[in-house]
């Protein structure tokens, strides 16, 4: 998985609780992305980062926030989890040289 780890790999939480997912890379790539994958929707971009402390919204950013204080770490936070945020979350990194993204193993999140 191209030097990308995600933690936790599985999480069950309750509606209304905050949740933070972590993506860690060892490739020193500038670009990092958070996607969610849902049946019938494919992969949808939540937020992305183009450098330390530089982030921007994707197409489904409502209810999510991100932070990137170090090149290697990109955090995704659900401030108050809802059942609609039950999904599989993938982190990806980009080389910034060509338009290729490498994906992590995913985090399966269940919000009850």
């Amino acid at each position: 998985d191209a030097g990308i780890t995600q933690s936790p790999r599985h999480k069950v939480t309750e509606t209304g609780t905050p949740v933070t997912l972590r993506c860690h890379q060892t490739e020193n790539h500038r670009y990092m992305y958070w996607y969610r994958q849902d049946p019938g929707h494919g992969l949808r971009l939540i937020h992305y980062s183009y450098g330390v402390k530089d982030t921007d919204k994707g197409e489904v950013s409502d209810g999510y926030s991100v932070s990137r204080s170090k090149t290697e770490d990109f955090l995704l936070t659900l401030e108050s989890a809802t059942s609609s945020q039950t999904s599989v979350y993938f982190c990806a990194i980009g080389t910034g040289v060509i338009e290729t993204q490498y994906f992590g193993p995913g985090t399966r999140l269940l919000v009850l």
């Binding site: 971009l45 993938f90 338009e99 994906f103 995913g106």
Partner: protein, 113 residues
């Protein structure tokens, strides 16, 4: 709003057959078209990619055909094998410096032995 339309949603092929997955787009600013392969429980992995200045790219049993005027591109898997059973996503890069990709909804391919 979906900018990359992928079909079919699912596909069943016999071993040795040809698998064909199609994608269509509207945004003429798209300048790079990768295909990703995803096995159950894994993240998507880049399979093959093409730029719009070529009409075809082949890597082993996998070929991308690109029709710029029709704004369509397709993935052909020749001599399909059971190990090719996976979900396939087409994607498109919309230009600019942040390298964002827009994905199709995916095709679940099953290759029967």
């Amino acid at each position: 709003q979906q900018q990359v339309k992928q079909s079919p949603q699912s596909l069943i092929v016999q071993k040795g057959g040809i698998s064909i997955i199609n994608c269509a787009y509207e945004n003429t600013a798209f300048d790079y078209f990768p295909w990703y392969q995803q096995f159950p429980g894994k993240g998507p992995a880049l399979l093959i990619a093409i730029r719009p200045d070529v009409s075809e790219k082949k890597e082993g049993r996998f070929t991308i055909s690109f029709n710029k005027s029709a704004k369509q591109f397709s993935l052909h898997i020749m001599d399909s094998q059971p190990g090719d059973s996976a979900t396939y996503f087409c994607a498109a890069h919309s230009g600019g410096s942040n390298y964002k990709l827009t994905f199709g909804k995916g095709t679940l391919l099953t290759v029967n032995p």
